[in-house]
């Protein structure tokens, strides 16, 4: 099926002749080269990496108010402890890396558990990504994915050069968006269901609409799907249950989450640089530098009198806003190093409302961390406890009514589908030549980009390899760090492919 004429955009004809190669970037109206469907942890990592490499990218998400949100709890857990966390964060481009580091609420991640302020990550991520010139957001619930039948391309003329395939997505509101490539980063939204107590809800994240249309489209295309399950821990109200747990015992004064191995603070203290990021082979140093320094500082406003936004501007605004206390003061841009890190809502609470939470069967000790400066909740990691089995144990006084605490959010289980037939770089491979699920390489075990075989040797012929990539949990990532890494890895592959088809 041809996509021509589906989208009645009056500008589409002129767009087809626009030069879209990196280095000759055009104005704001151009069609994106890549659509990233989903704006969670992996989608943002992917989009930021792509845009940082000169690729025009649009993030399509139905949840623009929770862009970048770590949706499944406050804890980043890495088996390798501090080093593993540092290594993963070192791989992602600076605006995001800074945000994750700034949002850390535990200074000590030796144990491999790093608690982050989810809300802050989301707000800061959206803010930082809006500054990136080639990156755009569009609200929309993607319900369909279409491949052009003239894949192999160039036949339509119009001066688009060697674009060998076309792909488009359609939203629930009937909007059709075209691009050279699509990255699916919808988390567990593909056929996702959320099991909360006796309730079963659709969706890949609690309370949000799922991506069922997209699952059907992928199934029709012949993508292999495999069910994934994820346990999300409960939250308890922090005010009645301020916790004396491991997270605040070890709180020290060493600059709150800033000292991660492999990542060092620049001399001016404003930028973090990575020593461990491996530049992609074949890229010029300039392009690597682009990735390293990020686009966060680039102003992209309308001029002196109009709104001009930059991280600097936001920082200045925050300084004059009383509200600085909440977002700026607690972390993120402009946070003073070493400031008190108790959650904002817990400041000044009387000691008698302090409660220690333990699971009914004393073992193992749950990992409890504040869910964010503003949320008023504590996240109880499912590794240690299940919500309705928690009991309040008095420390200094009484729990209201002496009754068992009600979980502010029940622990819940999310099941969704991951796509199995992916190349090591996360590209969708169809037909019989696709690797069977058991041989598919999970992204976290995939070879680093610089050692990877070029796509044309690794994957079957074009018709079986649509320009569709899968990042994050939908591609098999198992946690936030894997999602971040997979987003970056997919971005590299998409970028390489775009470059190739133009040469």
């Amino acid at each position: 099926m041809s996509l021509r004429g589906v989208h009645p955009d009056p500008a589409s004809e002129s767009m087809q002749s626009l030069p879209v190669l990196p280095g000759s970037l055009s104005g704001g109206d151009a069609r994106p080269q890549v659509l990233v469907v989903g704006g969670g942890v992996s989608g943002c990592a992917c989009a930021v990496t792509l845009a940082g490499q000169g690729v025009r990218v649009t993030v399509v998400s139905s949840a623009l108010d929770s862009i970048g949100l770590p949706g499944y709890g406050a804890n980043v857990i890495a088996a390798g402890g501090r080093a593993a966390i540092a290594e993963a964060l070192a791989m992602i481009p600076p605006p995001l890396r800074d945000i994750w580091l700034d949002a850390a609420v535990t200074p000590d991640c030796e144990s491999g558990v790093l608690a982050v302020d989810r809300r802050m990550i989301s707000v800061e991520t959206k803010c930082a990504m809006e500054q990136i010139p080639l990156l755009e957001f569009r609200q929309g619930l993607v319900t369909d994915l279409r491949l052009a039948d003239d894949a192999g391309g160039g036949a339509d003329g119009g001066g688009r050069g060697a674009v060998d395939a076309e792909v488009a997505v359609e939203t629930a509101f009937g909007e059709v968006m075209e691009a050279d490539a699509v990255v699916i980063a919808v988390g567990l939204g593909l056929g996702g269901t959320v099991h909360v107590g006796e309730d079963v809800l659709p969706g890949g994240r609690y309370g949000e609409t799922g991506a069922d249309g997209l699952r059907m489209a992928l199934e029709c295309m012949g993508a292999g799907l495999e069910e994934v399950r994820l346990e999300v821990g409960p939250r308890v109200g922090g005010q009645s249950a301020t916790v004396a747990g491991s997270w605040n015992e070890k709180r020290g004064g060493d600059g709150v989450g800033r000292r991660l191995d492999g990542v060092s603070v620049d001399t001016d203290g404003s930028r973090l640089r990575s020593d461990t990021l491996v530049p992609e082979a074949g890229d010029s140093p300039g392009e690597v530098e682009c990735l390293l320094s990020g686009a966060g500082e680039l102003p992209c406003g309308a001029g002196e009198d109009g709104p001009m936004y930059s991280i600097e501007r936001v920082r200045r605004l925050r300084e004059v806003l009383q509200s600085t206390e909440l977002l700026g003061g607690k972390g993120g841009v402009g946070r003073p190093v070493g400031c008190p890190t108790a959650p904002h809502w817990a400041e000044g609470l009387p000691a008698e409302s302090m409660v220690m939470l333990i699971p009914r069967e004393m073992e193992p000790t749950p990992v409890i961390s504040p869910d964010g400066a503003a949320t008023g909740e504590l996240y109880v990691d499912p590794l240690g406890a299940r919500g309705h089995e928690l009991k309040g144990i008095l420390v200094g006084g009484k729990v209201a009514g002496g009754e068992s605490l009600i979980a502010s959010r029940l622990d819940h289980c999310v099941t969704g589908k991951r796509i199995t037939n992916l190349s090591p770089h996360g590209r969708l491979t169809l037909s019989s030549t696709a690797a069977p699920p058991d041989q598919a390489v999970p992204p976290d075990q995939a070879v680093p980009p610089d050692q990877a075989v070029p796509p044309d040797q690794a994957v079957p012929p074009d018709q079986a390899v649509p320009p569709v990539w899968v990042a994050g949990r939908a591609g098999g990532a198992g946690d936030y760090l894997e999602s971040l890494r997979s987003g970056v890895r997919v971005a590299y592959d998409v970028r390489r492919w775009l470059k190739e088809i133009r040469e």
Partner: protein
């Protein structure tokens, strides 16, 4: 039916919904000492501003001030989060002046969440309220979809647009409470089962664009005021730099795009069945209804300090996305604007508010209250006002105390609720100053004087807060007296000053109060007209006192007239009608009046007089009948529900 093993929790008050109504209700109830749970579908989405990230405006700003004067949170929260603030209508009289602020919507949410998290006795529970437990026309609790059972004495419904909601663009729609969020699918059936009437309404939101892609040179810059305004009476917001808004207008080209594609509008295709707000019409409707109008204003407003997204007030539409882009691009200054969020419509269930008493309690189910969009209103301010009142009354009900009702001459809140429960709604209700017959008394500037003592009696206003209000009142009285006794001389110097102000010289020495009554003379002018100790005393008057003195001087006659009118009507206005009153047995009432009154069952004779179809003659008949009834029957005992309305004194 609940399973026996089901775990349950017990509260005095449960609030269902975490929007602007739900937050106020939960805070008020908890602050009044009731153990309170707020059940919300998603605890990451508390106090969201899904439409315009602004608080206040004419009529609405007064509501926010009143909420604040009674101890509510909206004003304080707006002060913490605003990024631009302006006093509207400064060239007009004090009755129609009002504050309006643009808020950073993220900060607004965060601060509300912090306020709630710090309130003792308030628990936030994430879950979908699925089934109300109602027996013998009384609420007992609610079962969540996850299976948890929460017991309560009172329950406040503040579900916003979420009941069986769907979002709509063009001919496409899907089930969602807001784009991307799951709706509440279960509760409506439970409301119907409890005997409540449920109907459909529709609302809509305009597109958002990337603020970096607008052309400010083609639009009118609108800066905030430099005056340190605040919504709240109780704290002074810190000074801050403000973000600008822009004003542009649609053109013939914009209207042509709309007209050309009207067949794609849900209004035409019939994919929206609920009625939408007439006072906040979509651009589609404006083009249909006002074909001769050359242009409509479009305000381009920032959504926060951490986002470039801007809100297009005036371009609400649910036309297909490509048409939305064409509409935007046909508007000056927005030619290159990049669409970020398409506008859309949302359709949802609401409870026609004539099913409520003046305390916002359901007539059908004791202990069940409702507030906000579920009552057929629109707007964050209308929602907060109802939320506060429903929360207060839910708490009072839980404590077996008589309800708290504000009269139409006391507050816009009184006007709002009286309008809703008496006249009902045929479209989403929005507050205007024109709805208040005593708007010269219900001013933005005197909300605390009108209401804070009532808030104090409820336990929502502290002794210290009340003391600041009383101190101001004392000062105003002191200066009022002073102005009566202070004389302004008719000397040469004064004559010159007066002439320069465009007003004739004094015919002899006059009391300062009388001079200030001249419309050309401000308090600052008056200071110039006196000398010595008098001048020093006047010059030391605090600004908020000066404001009151000027208003008093200028509008004294009108205010007195309105006060007299209120006194004249009060006897009939507040005369209670027994809940079991049999209208059909009253001879002399028209058939229409009998029918309507029996259905609406007004609490007071005043409310009865505002029921459409009830004539002054009907009210006279009722008055005679009620007096006769009162003589034969004992006064209803205080505390017997809505029959004994707490009649607060108007000062």
């Amino acid at each position: 039916m609940r399973a026996k093993t089901q775990q349950e929790w017990t509260y005095d008050v449960i609030v269902v919904g975490g929007g602007h109504a739900g937050c106020e209700a939960a805070l008020a109830s908890a602050r009044m000492g009731c153990r309170t749970a707020m059940v919300a579908l998603h605890l990451d989405n508390i106090a969201l501003m899904p439409c315009n990230p602004a608080i206040g405006g004419v009529g609405k700003g007064q509501l926010t001030r009143e909420v604040d004067a009674l101890g509510g949170e909206q004003g304080r929260n707006a002060d913490r989060a605003f990024i631009q603030i302006r006093m509207l209508n400064t060239s007009k009289g004090p009755a129609v002046q009002a504050l309006r602020a643009q808020a950073d919507k993220r900060l607004y949410e965060d601060w509300m969440k912090v306020a709630m998290s710090r309130t003792p006795g308030l628990e936030l529970v994430q879950g979908e309220a699925a089934t109300l437990d109602v027996s013998r026309e009384t609420i007992n609790g609610v079962t969540l979809a996850d299976g948890r059972y929460l017991r309560c004495r009172s329950l406040v419904l503040a579900t916003g647009t979420f009941l069986r909601a769907k979002v709509v663009i063009g001919d496409r729609s899907y089930a969602a409470g807001r784009v991307g969020e799951l709706p509440a699918q279960h509760l409506s059936a439970s409301l119907l089962a409890a005997g409540l009437e449920v109907e459909r309404f529709q609302s809509a939101t305009p597109p958002r664009i990337d603020g970096a892609t607008i052309d400010p040179g083609r639009m009118v810059l609108q800066q905030g005021d430099t005056v340190p305004w605040s919504f709240s009476h109780w704290q002074t917001p810190s000074p801050r730099r403000q973000l600008p808004c822009y004003l542009t207008y649609t053109t013939a080209a914009t209207h042509e795009v709309v007209s050309k594609h009207l067949h794609l509008s849900p209004l035409k295709s019939g994919s929206v069945s609920g009625k939408g707000p007439r006072y906040c019409p979509s651009i589609d409707r404006k083009v249909i209804n006002f074909p001769d109008k050359q242009r409509h204003p479009v305000f381009v407003e920032p959504e926060g300090i951490t986002t470039r997204e801007m809100y297009l007030q005036g371009l609400t539409t649910s036309l297909p996305v490509f048409v939305q882009e064409m509409i935007i691009h046909a508007t000056p200054g927005l030619e290159r604007a990049r669409l970020v969020r398409p506008g859309y419509a949302v359709e949802y269930d609401y409870l026609p508010p004539q099913q409520l008493t003046l305390s916002l309690q359901s007539k059908a189910v004791s202990g069940l209250f409702s507030a906000g969009q579920i009552n057929g209103t629109s707007g964050y301010e209308e929602a907060a006002a109802q939320g506060l009142m429903a929360g207060i009354n839910a708490a009072l009900h839980a404590r077996n105390e008589p309800p708290f009702v504000l009269r139409r001459d006391q507050a816009y809140i009184g006007v709002l609720i009286d309008d809703l429960v008496t006249e009902g709604v045929d479209e989403p209700y929005r507050m205007f100053t024109s709805r208040a017959e005593y708007r010269l008394l219900l001013r933005h500037d005197n909300a605390a004087e009108r209401l804070s003592s009532l808030g104090h009696a409820l336990g929502l206003i502290s002794d210290e807060q009340l003391a600041t209000v009383e101190e101001k009142q004392r000062k105003v009285a002191e200066y009022t007296e002073l102005l009566e006794s202070m004389m302004v001389r008719s000397g040469q110097v004064n004559a010159e000053v007066l002439e320069a102000l465009g007003t004739p010289p004094l015919g002899g020495s006059q009391p300062a109060a009388r001079v200030l009554r001249r419309p050309q003379i401000s308090f600052a002018n008056l200071v110039e007209l006196v000398s010595g100790a008098d001048r020093d005393r006047l010059a030391s008057a605090p600004p908020e006192v000066i404001e009151q003195l000027e208003i008093q001087a200028r509008y004294d006659g009108y205010i007195r007239r309105q006060m007299a009118e209120i006194r004249r009507h009060r006897a009939t206005e507040t005369l209670l009608i027994p809940a079991d009153f049999d209208y059909r047995s009253v001879e002399g009432l028209t058939f229409e009046a009998k029918d309507k009154l029996a259905r609406i069952r007004p609490d007071t004779l005043g409310q009865a007089s505002r029921v459409s179809g009830v004539s002054p003659a009907d009210i006279s008949v009722l008055l005679i009948h009620l007096h006769r009834l009162l003589r034969t029957r004992e006064e209803p005992a205080p505390g017997s529900g809505d029959q004994a309305l707490r009649q607060a004194q108007c000062t």
